[in-house]
């Protein structure tokens, strides 16, 4: 059976609840503000939301359904996505189908987490059965060690240098300086990047995201409805999603994008060269390199050369993570999986202010999530057009 396209779906109302390093509030507080901000921006009443998609780690013990009572919502379509960095793309593609099928008219996709002083450690300790049994007892706690292994392996096999990773981090910081919600406000030089303290060699301070509290959200609805409401929107051209791809690879050097990218570009009727900007999932710079390769911007192992050839600021030859990415904005838990999507919507609807990519018509957003044991399991990508 041939895949149905995403005609008629509008993606709109990019919303960010400004991040803070630590919050004494619960995740519910952040998600409530996110919904409220979406309603305000769209000029909608609460009852208009009849579909809800929620992504959050710290909402526990509640899930999306508990949140409906907490916030007094009564959706007829509800989704809870424990997919971390893949949640933005997955929320979008599921919501799009719900709208196309008429199961919901207006779906609010929200992601947010709180960050108490000790909550990151507790999230790590209880992240997954495999992590609890086979990673957390080794002291790394969470993705630092996993990505250190991956980064060291990538450097050894493909000849990437710290300067290559640093170039991305420095460019993203320059983008972040033009994004008011970014938690990092100071410029970053390559020298500062290189001389930062080691965290888990070869990873150093600026290779790692800073956990924080915050929320991101957007609306999925029909084009007619969006036009009637008079809100700017982007069209969804294609999406992919894949979990636990290439399970037999001894170390993760590729993920599901490599398996599904032809499908993605075929849906969109466009190729990698047509993209005006790319938002990768960037919890560590090496994973951006894998995405550039797996999504076809260069061949496997050639991302270091690609990085050396291009510039990555919003006005560069390859605009990447134009709001600064998680590395320079902060990682607000599951909202990290929405950051690229929200920024892509701002770019395509002309709301990116000083970091606006010139004539941005077509953009690619990529998601990656859930280091269950030694690798990220979920991958997804979406192509949006204004």
């Amino acid at each position: 059976m041939t895949r149905k396209g995403y005609e008629g779906v509008a993606v709109a109302v990019p919303v960010t609840v400004p991040y803070v390093r630590y919050s004494i509030r619960a995740a519910h507080w952040w998600l409530a503000r996110c919904i409220s901000e979406i309603l305000k921006s769209a000029g909608l009443k609460k009852d208009a939301i009849d579909g809800l998609s929620v992504s959050s780690f710290t909402l526990a013990p509640d899930t999306a359904i508990g949140l409906t009572q907490h916030l007094g919502l009564s959706p007829r379509w509800l989704d809870h996505l424990p997919l971390g960095g893949a949640s933005g793309v997955v929320a979008l593609r599921r919501a799009a189908r719900a709208v196309q099928a008429g199961d919901a008219d207006i779906v609010a996709c929200i992601a947010g987490d709180t960050n108490h002083v000790d909550s990151f450690r507790l999230t790590l300790a209880n992240f997954s059965q495999f992590a609890r049994d086979a990673v957390y007892p080794y002291g790394a706690g969470g993705p630092n060690a996993s990505f250190a292994f991956l980064t060291a392996y990538y450097m050894r096999v493909y000849g990437a240098t710290r300067e290559d990773f640093g170039k991305l981090c420095v460019a993203q910081r320059a983008n972040a300086l033009k994004y008011s919600h970014a938690l990092f406000k100071k410029p970053l030089t390559l020298e500062e990047y290189l001389s930062a303290r080691a965290i888990a060699e070869p990873l150093h301070l600026f290779d790692c995201v800073m956990p924080c509290a915050g929320a991101e959200g957007f609306l999925v609805l029909s084009e007619e409805r969006a036009k009637a409401l008079g809100i700017p929107f982007a069209a969804l051209m294609g999406t992919i999603e894949r979990h636990n791809a290439y399970a037999a690879d001894p170390v993760q050097m590729r993920a599901g994008w490599a398996l599904d990218r032809e499908d993605l570009y075929a849906q969109a009727g466009a190729g990698p060269g047509d993209m005006d900007f790319v938002q990768t999932y960037d919890d560590y710079p090496v994973i951006s390199l894998l995405q550039l390769e797996d999504l076809g911007f260069c061949a496997k192992g050639e991302a270091p050369a690609f990085v050396r050839e291009h510039s990555f600021t919003h006005d560069g030859s390859f605009p990447l993570n134009t709001s600064g990415g998680q590395l320079s904005v902060g990682q607000a838990g599951a909202a990290g999986g929405f950051l690229g999507m929200v920024e892509a919507l701002r770019q395509l609807t002309g709301q990116a202010q000083a970091r606006q990519v010139k004539d941005a018509k077509l953009g690619l957003v990529s998601g990656f999530g859930m280091i269950n044991f030694d690798r990220g399991l979920g991958s997804g990508a979406a192509i949006l057009r204004c």
């Binding site: 990151f120 450690r121 790590l124 300790a125 059965q129 495999f130 609890r132 049994d133 086979a134 990673v135 957390y136 007892p137 080794y138 002291g139 790394a140 706690g141 969470g142 630092n144 060690a145 996993s146 250190a148 292994f149 991956l150 060291a152 392996y153 050894r156 303290r197 080691a198 965290i199 888990a200 060699e201 070869p202 990873l203 399970a247 001894p250 170390v251 044991f373 030694d374």
Partner: protein
């Protein structure tokens, strides 16, 4: 190579013990069960043979639920390594930097392992073993492919072992051949001080002079049936003992019908069970307080039990019962010592080659064999030790079918 730890500054605060993360799924405890015996086992699918890691409930290849723990070769290739300079976990935070490796095992899975300092940068061949960490849970350790000199001195590896080197040890009974062999083995292993207890100090015993000549040895009167004596000795040296080896034993033959009265059985209980209880009450608290006291911290408590603790051997029926009681108490002690990271090692030898096992046929465990097994267990970080062919056979029979072993021993 490890340098001798400096003398402790008594003014400084003794660091309180912390433990590495101890939570595990029930599936993962299979790794711990094997590591407790010094074995490296991973789940293997009975139906398709796929080796699995991390431990799980169903085969990732064929979805069979028949996953069985089987010994595996730990040979593999180091794909990548990292040196942690940061950890959210207190235990590791206090021990940074810490080296970890990603290893592809020849038997299939990729594993995360603690990485021995002697392993060269990736790619390198390594040997992965399962070790009990300070929390008493199994972790994987990637070791150099070939044994090197002073391998046990590795700073990280020493966190998983209870190596007697540079440690102060109390052996509760130096009067027996077994006790004297244990002392000798500890001296050879580099123990710094060996206190050796002996009951009835007015009687000179065979081997006394030889013991006195060992430079690290200090002989002390100790009768584990005398609460006051145990308390006073603990007050004197309890704060310095890093490893306590309780080998005091009272052993007589016969079961229920062949001897009237309870005096002999009570004497067995008084040494074998209450002796352990007295020692545990007096020495336990001080050792618990020193679980993280530097390179030569309090590390282990060794109980020399008997294979008869697993199932009653009717010809030595009351002795078996006292050893079963001691074993049960040792499990309690293990639980109470675990928060301090002090390992309780239970040794279950087959019949020792001594006068009380005169009528039993060989093979019997020689004193030196028992001593070697104890030091080996401390060095390898093993928790349950079954020295001798008889003990190994009983263990295998008991694991296979405890009821069958009961019948076999009673015929």
């Amino acid at each position: 190579m490890l340098d001798k730890p400096k003398r402790k500054n008594p003014v400084l605060r003794t660091r309180l013990p912390t433990l590495p993360p101890a939570a595990r799924s029930r599936a993962a405890l299979g790794l711990t069960a094997a590591a407790a015996l010094g074995r490296f086992e991973l789940q293997q699918c009975r139906d398709c043979g796929t080796v699995q890691y991390p431990p799980r409930e169903a085969c990732q290849q064929c979805l069979s639920i028949h996953l069985q723990w089987h010994p595996q070769s730990g040979d593999g290739e180091l794909l990548s390594s990292t040196l942690l300079h940061h950890s959210n976990d207190l235990f590791f935070r206090e021990r940074l930097p810490w080296r970890l490796g990603l290893v592809q095992l020849d038997c299939g899975p990729t594993v995360v392992a603690h990485l021995h300092g002697g392993v060269p940068p990736a790619p390198a061949r390594v040997r992965v073993a399962a070790r009990l960490d300070r929390a008493g849970q199994a972790v994987l350790v990637a070791l150099p492919e070939k044994e090197t000199s002073n391998m046990a001195d590795d700073r990280q590896l020493r966190e998983f072992t209870c190596d007697p080197k540079f440690r102060k040890v109390l052996v509760t009974d130096g009067k027996t051949a077994a006790g004297q062999a244990i002392v000798k083995a500890l001296a050879q292993a580099g123990a710094e001080i060996i206190w050796v207890g002996y009951a009835e100090p007015w009687k000179k015993f065979s081997g006394f002079d030889a013991l006195s000549k060992v430079s690290q040895v200090s002989l002390l009167p100790l009768d584990v049936t005398d609460s006051k004596n145990v308390r006073e000795l603990a007050a004197e040296i309890g704060g310095k003992v890093d490893i306590l080896i309780n080998n005091a034993e009272h052993h007589r033959a016969f079961g229920i019908g062949n001897r009237p009265g309870v005096e002999t059985a009570r004497a067995e209980m008084d040494v074998n069970y209450f002796g352990l209880l007295r020692l545990a009450q007096e020495f336990g608290p001080a050792m618990r307080a020193r679980g993280a006291d530097g390179l030569a911290s309090a590390a282990a408590w060794v109980n020399v039990l008997s294979i008869y603790a697993l199932a009653n051997f009717p010809p030595h029926g009351t002795f078996s019962a006292s050893m079963a009681a001691a074993h049960s108490l040792a499990q309690c002690l293990r639980a109470e010592m675990r928060p301090a990271g002090v390992r309780v090692v239970n040794v279950f030898p087959g019949p020792l080659d001594d006068e009380w096992n005169q009528l039993l046929p060989p093979p019997k465990v020689a004193a030196a064999g028992l001593a070697g097994a104890i030091v080996g267990a401390l060095r390898d970080g093993v928790e349950d030790v079954y020295p001798g062919d008889v003990a190994q056979e009983w263990l295998a029979r008991w694991r296979d079918n405890p009821k069958a072993l009961e019948r076999e021993l009673s015929s």
